[in-house]
Symmetry: C2
Subunit: 217 residues, 2 copies
Amino acid sequence: MFAPLSPIKPRKLPQQRRSEVTVQAVFEACIQVLLDKGIERLTTTRVAARAGVSVGTLYQYFPNKEALLAAVLQHHLSGVRDAVTGIEEGVRGKSLAEIVDALINALFDAKFADPATSKALYAVVAVVGESDAVMRLTMEAQATIIRLLSTASDRSFPHVESASFILSTAVTGPVQALLDRNGSVVQIDNVRQQLKLLSLAYLRAVSTCHAVELDRA
Amino acid sequence: MFAPLSPIKPRKLPQQRRSEVTVQAVFEACIQVLLDKGIERLTTTRVAARAGVSVGTLYQYFPNKEALLAAVLQHHLSGVRDAVTGIEEGVRGKSLAEIVDALINALFDAKFADPATSKALYAVVAVVGESDAVMRLTMEAQATIIRLLSTASDRSFPHVESASFILSTAVTGPVQALLDRNGSVVQIDNVRQQLKLLSLAYLRAVSTCHAVELDRA
DNA sequence: ACCTGAACACCGTTCAAGT
DNA sequence: ACCTGAACACCGTTCAAGT
């Protein structure tokens, strides 16, 4: 979050480094427990044990169970957000079709890189979905989509905010369903193509073509 | 579920009736607690107390907490399924546009009749989503959509199953987001119209027009 | 036939004590 | 600076006892 900007400073931070390792271990243990016990049997003691530390240590870094879950979810969501913002330069000024293609591909690559983790985290959303940090990440991704759509060379959107809200939320459902059913690679790819089709069809329906735009003086 | 078909038989079932009342009370109490405590603080003791019975009584009707939550979710989902199947006769043989209109309207009427309850139940899906009964209801709704799309007079679908899977899951996301944000009436209606647009645009993209169909002998 | 509530094993969280 | 684990309040579930 607020990494020191001073360039050469590392070395000899033994304690800090130890705690970093601990936090990372707790993080990974949390996902592991989530994966093979389910959120209902996700226990702080169990997570701590799996991470190789005591409960007390876990509570030194996370004020409570919910904060732990929120942190894990946050980490995952910021990965998704980065994947989406990462395509921004590459598609600037391109056609709507190309933008949609890049967008859906980025989302699928991020979500299905580790499907088990993505699936496990959906249960977490229900518990910490109202968290500020999570809502902020969602809105950041939304803002990026708004910017992306605005740069389309062949189309313009009278209601970009509305369109990107519908688009981003609509795409979520099929992805979630696919994760839930442990879809095969070919099913995943089929849904990916269908979502490109859906997104493009919808966005074209709510946009106006640039070619016929001559309402100047 | 398996109501006796014998016509005149009621009267004098004092005990049964008492238990029916109890079950209903527990049911409603469960939703109440869900609403103002959240699923993380949903406690069997709390639900029982709110229903005006003891924990022991609750466990006489539901083998465990998860079964209770599953039953509540099931009840809600069967309402949604009924809303969808209810439009079936009304739209048989009509145009795709009319079918989509009726479908989205039915879904919105069912989901936003009691938005607070719908919202609260999304957290429950994460806990009992894998339940057989819940999955059966989801598939029944899907099957109805497949039948509906097949009856469209002006269009036919080469891959109805795929199309209805995408459609039904895609529509879920915006509805869920709207419930999460406690959308106003005008926002709800806006999303309703957008989803009709989206559904129609997508379904037209994956269907073939009936007018050009003359591949007979 | 239905209900009660004390009892037990387990979970979230804390804190005095260690290195 | 970081870790431990016993301790406490609370939750899920059971069961002997009531009406």
